[in-house]
């Protein structure tokens, strides 16, 4: 690699047609006149359509995903008192969120699968099948997802209302006849198990079966959900405060982003207008978290290639940012800051100034590190053309965050669907097209720079005012909250009942979206590259597992 390539600056509306919501509405109604009808109950979406014919679900979703370029946000399954409701969430970039709603009677057990057209829905459907028991017709690979078949019986369906979360410990067993579904059938092939107690050092619990004939990985099968704590189930029937704690703490390395998405959802349900000062401070805290997360990801990449000095340097930067977060906000990981209606505390000018000093120092250090790493040829050898995800795969599997942006899949919620003050701030979203490990590293460095810039801008634009408005409990409704977490698009959807308790809480995390695409990166590379691909992928298993 020769010159240090600068990130591509994209215009704001790439990733979809330049149609507005009205155009899309017209197109949908024109094309699927018999299949859908507009749903007056918005449920927190810009456009909401009720599907009349379940069988047309695949074609409608395919139209939205492929023809209109709307990335899939996720699928929300809800068990209401008299029906099932499945919400298929899509994003129309620069406009808003679209929902296709499918209602089924409670006795129904099957739903047509959209996975043939929209591959990104694969894991969403598998999760719903495992947790709710709804079968998706023609999905080629249901089962053994959240509840591992080797340990759990069939038919438990914990997310159904009939299952109580406080049940005493269930019968545990190890199925003696269980065999993993292996794909490679070579005479000498075998499936090397990695994890769940990951032996490469300290790591999150995840399990891989690397099918191989000896040198390269032919098929990498990830088995996640070792950290599954059933957050969505525990949240049912709890107060907003308690669920806020859950939303914040199920994935602490992007705690602020998740808690922000949840608060925004609640604020939307209660129709509360967050004060301007709080919105800008929320930007500052989001970007602080992003910069710190990226420093940690860079340290992890350097550690995986065993380049000790930059790994130590990046770790120093991350620790300094953690300490700066602690000094500024009272907690190293920014816990306890978001409340529905604003922030829990205010920050004065001296706080902001010392934060900016720390941020600038971190930014300077990251610049130096970036330049130095660019000249480390043995390091680049391990990253370039390794773990490649092509643009089509990224589009196909709906990869989000820095991973998607390194493969040309530009979609940043801060630009595509601005929230909490981003619409007034000027910044760039870096994008690369090679899709290899080095591209992902470059995106991380560029985004960290943009974060520093955003923090300066946001603090510069601060005006005096309140940081919180009261958000009364007891307003029923449902809404979607979203943020661009450090790893990608995080969506939280919440439905509150009349008493203000959480009836259904759904968290669709960026790691859940992106782990689906990991096998594309890991396949056809050697065993030695596997930990490096894992590090450049930089995802969190616990964020996926919830």
């Amino acid at each position: 690699m020769g010159a240090h390539s600068s990130p591509i600056h994209e215009s704001e509306n790439r990733g979809g047609d330049k149609t507005s919501l009205a155009d899309l509405a017209a197109a949908l109604q024109g094309r699927f006149v018999d299949d859908i009808s507009p749903n007056p109950v918005k449920d927190g979406f810009a456009l909401s359509y009720l599907l009349m014919q379940p069988s047309s679900l695949p074609t409608v979703c395919s139209f939205l995903f492929w023809d209109r370029g709307c990335p899939l946000g996720g699928i929300i399954a809800e068990e209401q008192s008299d029906q099932w409701q499945l919400h298929y969430v899509f994003l129309l970039p620069a406009s808003g969120w679209i929902e296709i709603l499918l209602s089924l009677p409670l006795s129904a057990t099957t739903v047509p699968s959209v996975v043939a057209e929209v591959h990104a829905a694969d894991w969403h459907e598998r999760e719903i099948e495992d947790l709710f028991g709804i079968q998706f017709e023609k999905h080629p690979r249901l089962g053994d997802f959240v509840l591992h078949d080797q340990i759990w019986h069939e038919g438990i369906d914990p997310m159904r209302k009939s299952f109580s979360a406080d049940q005493p410990q269930l019968e545990r067993r190890v199925d003696p006849d269980w065999q993993p579904t292996l794909v490679v059938s070579d005479p000498g092939s075998f499936a090397m198990p990695v994890g769940p107690v990951y032996e490469g050092g300290i790591g999150e619990s995840l399990h891989f079966l690397l099918e191989t004939v000896g040198e390269d990985v032919v098929r990498a099968i990830p088995r996640l959900f070792y950290n599954y704590r059933a957050v969505e189930k525990i949240a049912e029937g709890k107060t907003v405060t308690e669920v806020l704690l859950l939303a914040e703490r199920f994935s602490a390395t992007s705690a602020f982003a998740h808690s922000l998405a949840f608060c925004q959802a609640v604020e939307d349900v209660c129709s509360v207008e967050v004060p301007e000062r709080a919105r800008l401070l929320r930007v500052v805290l989001c970007e602080l978290e992003r910069q710190r997360h990226h420093a940690g990801a860079i340290a992890a990449i350097c550690t995986s290639t065993a380049l000790a000095v930059p790994a130590a340097h990046a770790a120093i930067i991350e620790e300094e940012l953690l300490r700066a977060s602690c000094v500024f906000a009272g907690h190293r990981y920014l816990f306890g800051l978001n409340r529905p209606g604003g922030l829990s505390r205010d920050f004065d000018v001296s706080d902001c100034e010392s934060l900016l000093l720390a941020v600038d120092n971190a930014e300077k250090q990251l610049r130096i590190l970036d330049r130095r790493l660019h000249f480390s040829s043995s390091f680049l050898d391990r990253l370039e053309d390794v773990g490649v995800v092509t643009g089509e795969n990224a589009r196909d599997l709906n990869l989000v965050g820095p991973i998607g942006r390194a493969s040309g899949q530009y979609c940043d919620l801060r630009k595509a669907c601005p929230y909490t003050g981003y619409e007034q701030l000027a910044f760039e979203v870096p994008c690369e097209t090679e899709g290899d490990g080095y591209a992902r590293l470059r995106v991380l460095f560029a985004e960290a720079t943009q974060s520093a810039k955003l923090m300066h801008e946001a603090i510069g634009a601060l005006e005096t005012g309140p940081v919180r408005v009261p958000c009364e409990e007891g307003c029923p409704g449902a809404a979607l909250g979203w943020t661009e977490a450090p790893r990608g698009a995080a969506l939280h959807w919440v439905r509150l009942d009349e008493k203000g308790l959480v009836e259904r809480y759904r968290a669709m995390t960026p790691s859940f979206n992106n782990w689906l695409g990991f096998h594309v990166a890991a396949e056809n590379f050697a065993f030695q590259d596997f930990p490096i691909i894992l590090a450049t992928w930089g995802l969190s298993a616990t964020e996926c597992d919830r």
């Binding site: 794909v183 059938s185 070579d186 000498g188 092939s189 994890g195 000896g214 098929r219």
Partner: protein, 714 residues
């Protein structure tokens, strides 16, 4: 002239004849016992027949009848034959017992053991005849008998078509080799009085270099068929895989050596191979070695792997022989003695450990029903005794001290280094390259046998087989006997080398005993054999501490160099072994004393926390050797086709099936072009067969006219 020693030869043939009769008489159920008893007797007689020569150094001969046109048939046991006879005797001893134990352990009631017995003893007789024949017709007749008997022994119990094909390929190649050998002998005998070896040797002295080259090439590649040299060895893996388990130890331990005997007899004894011939032998040997071990390392069928390993060892031996020819042609007698000793020692070692490994493989296959290393594993729990013995075989063949492979491989590599004494630079480069190739094969051999031992005996069971033999199977006398000999040959080289010297000295012109085995411990400064300065130095550093106490032979192998560097290497395998044993015992003692109060807990395997480590999650033999396959891809040139089945889209692949086809490099480079050329010539000639009478009449007319024209003068 029949001397008293000739009685052994008579006894050998009498016992073989008795064996044939008794096997036929006793039928299939008692035949294994016959094979055991009579075979043991015959092998003892064979060893005794060779012992006289090896110990006394006196060869003897027995004259048989006289045939018109062929001359006097004589049997002669001289130094060269004796070493091969001794090895054959030891191996036959072990195999005769093995056959009976193996068939009994396998409880094979319907096995056609009587047929096997007849052919076995006939083969034994023909092998002895080959080794003791001292005239060409007897040699050639017994060679042909041996080839045919080998073919019959492969095919007498064969089930599958491919195995039958393997037997026919072997027969065809044997015949081609035989033809070449016959022509070689005829070239040599152009000026000979009769066809005895002595006359042929005399005649060879009068031939032109061109004729000598012709004889060498024909003889080298003719015998090379049996010895397993590239490019005429493509029958070997196929036949070894097809051979029944009771026969294959004979194949690997005895008939392979006949090829070396033939090369050595023709080029060492009957004619003195020229320097160029030696270079050819060296290069062919090295290439054979590397090709053999590459295919052995990447194979996952045990028998085929051992077959390729035999090819590798044959290459090492022939490389040693080539070095011998080169040193002798340059007049470096000590170097020649070293090279010949290395080659012969390696031949002996190879017979012992290869027989051991093949016997072990036969037991493994009988115990599990499969030879596929990808599906074996965990046998050390089921068959602990066999596991230990197989480990000894693997260590021996990997040239790990204190076993025998170490000594002979070390000596071969030292011979390669000794090329420094030769004057020509180009020959030194050739030696350096061949030495590097042999070092690489040694390293690959370690990989290969680590894989062989670990994939079969260690780890968890990978296939769905049930053990079919008792735990004590495979630990019986024949295998233990061979394992002990492996150890003895490794720790007592200073006693073996003087025995080999009987063979080496006449052929090489220098004594290996004086070159390598010095009476080190008892040597005094005025001993003429070792330079006094050197002795003083060694005495001062205490290396002669055992003087007066330890055996006079010294048990020290010492390689002497030139004046500037008098001793290249001095070491004692025996004392190292003794020191090793003492250290191990001491360590065991210390450890058990120190940990007496600690309880050792045995816990389940740690596999990252998964509930169970399934067989498909453990490393396979193919996976282990894959790096070798990838690195040497240019040699293997595999043709990989991948068949992916998927549903819905590329994202959901449900099955990936990879087919890997490769043609052996020898087949690719030699067999297929030759076969294609022959076929094209045949097709061209077939064009002549119209079937029309007129054409044939024309051919006859044309041929008549040609003859009339040629003989117009007379």
């Amino acid at each position: 002239m029949a001397s008293l020693s000739g009685i052994w030869l008579v006894l050998i043939f009498a016992t073989c004849a008795a064996g044939i009769l008794l096997s036929a008489l006793f039928g299939r159920r008692r035949a294994p016992l016959v094979v055991a008893i009579v075979g043991v007797l015959a092998s003892v007689f064979i060893v005794l027949a060779s012992a006289t020569v090896l110990i006394n150094g006196q060869s003897y001969s027995v004259s048989l009848w006289m045939l018109d046109g062929f001359g006097q048939f004589t049997l002669r046991v001289d130094a060269l034959s004796s070493v091969f006879l001794a090895v054959a005797g030891i191996v036959y001893f072990s195999i005769s017992l093995f056959v009976r134990n193996f068939l009994k352990d396998r409880r094979a009631v319907d096995y056609p053991a009587h047929r096997f017995g007849i052919l076995y003893f006939a083969l034994m007789a023909s092998v002895v005849l080959i080794l003791v024949a001292s005239d060409a017709p007897l040699f050639l007749i017994s060679w042909e008998c041996m080839s045919i008997l080998c073919f019959l022994l492969i095919n007498y119990d064969v089930q599958e078509q491919s195995d039958k094909m393997a037997g026919y390929i072997m027969l065809a190649m044997s015949e081609a080799g035989f033809l070449a050998v016959v022509i070689a002998f005829l070239i040599l005998g152009r000026n000979a009085a009769d066809l005895s070896f002595a006359a042929l040797a005399a005649s060879a002295g009068t031939l032109s270099p061109g004729a000598l080259w012709g004889a060498f090439l024909l003889g080298f590649f003719g015998f090379g068929v049996k010895a397993g040299l590239v490019p005429v060895n493509f029958w070997l893996p196929r036949s070894y895989t097809a051979a029944p388990p009771v026969f294959i130890p004979v194949f690997a331990g005895i008939t392979l050596n006949l090829g070396f005997y033939g090369i050595l007899r023709l080029n060492g004894d009957l004619m003195h191979a020229s320097y160029g011939a030696g270079v050819l032998a060296l290069i062919v040997g090295s290439i054979t070695a590397i090709v053999g071990i590459l295919y052995a390392t990447t194979d996952s069928d045990m028998k085929t792997m051992l077959a390729h390993s035999s090819i590798e060892n044959a290459g090492i031996i022939v490389a040693g022989l080539g070095a011998f020819f080169i040193f002798r042609a340059w007049g470096e007698w000590v170097g020649a003695a070293l090279a010949l000793a290395a080659a012969l020692y390696h031949m002996v070692n190879h017979s012992i450990y290869k027989t051991l490994l093949f016997q072990g493989t036969a037991y493994v296959e009988a115990a599990t029903g499969t030879r596929d290393m990808n599906r074996l594993g965990g046998l050390s729990h089921l068959l602990p005794g066999l596991s230990a013995i197989f480990l000894v075989g693997c260590l021996a063949i990997s040239a790990v001290p204190p076993f025998n492979g170490f000594v002979s491989e070390w000596m071969t590599l030292q011979v390669m280094l000794r090329s420094a004494v030769l004057p020509s630079t180009s020959i030194k480069i050739v030696f350096a390259l061949c030495g590097a190739i042999l070092a690489l094969t040694a390293a690959l051999a370690v990989t290969c046998f680590v894989k062989a031992y670990a994939m079969n005996f260690l780890g968890i069971r990978r296939g769905a087989w049930e053990p079919q033999l008792q735990a004590r199977a495979g630990t019986r006398f024949p295998l233990v006997f061979l394992a002990v000999i492996c150890l003895l040959l490794g720790i007592l080289p200073t006693y073996i080398l003087p025995v080999l010297n009987r063979t080496v000295e006449p052929l090489a012109g220098a004594s290996i005993t004086t070159a390598v085995v010095q009476p080190f411990f008892t040597a005094t400064p005025d001993n003429g054999q070792l330079p006094p300065a050197f002795l003083h130095e060694f005495h001062n550093i205490g290396a002669q501490s055992g003087r007066g106490l330890l055996p006079g032979r010294g048990l020290v192998v010492m390689l002497r160099g030139l004046e500037a560097n008098p001793v290249i290497f001095a070491g004692s395998p025996f004392y190292s072994f003794v020191a090793l044993v003492i250290l191990v015992v001491l360590a065991w003692f210390v450890v058990t004393r120190l940990t007496r109060r600690r309880a050792v807990a045995r816990r389940p395997l740690w596999a990252g926390g998964i509930p169970r480590l399934l067989p498909q999650m453990s490393y396979t033999a193919t996976g282990f050797s894959n790096p070798v396959r990838v690195i040497f891809q240019a040699i293997f040139q595999p043709n990989i086709t991948e068949d992916t089945r998927q549903t819905v889209a590329v994202h959901f692949r449900t099955a990936i099936h990879r087919q890997r086809e490769e043609t052996h490099i020898v087949d690719r480079i030699f067999l297929e072009p030759v076969g294609a050329a022959v076929r094209s010539v045949a097709n061209f000639l077939a064009g002549m067969h119209h079937g029309r009478l007129n054409a044939y009449v024309t051919y006859v007319l044309a041929f008549l006219l040609l003859i009339l024209f040629l003989y117009r003068g007379t």
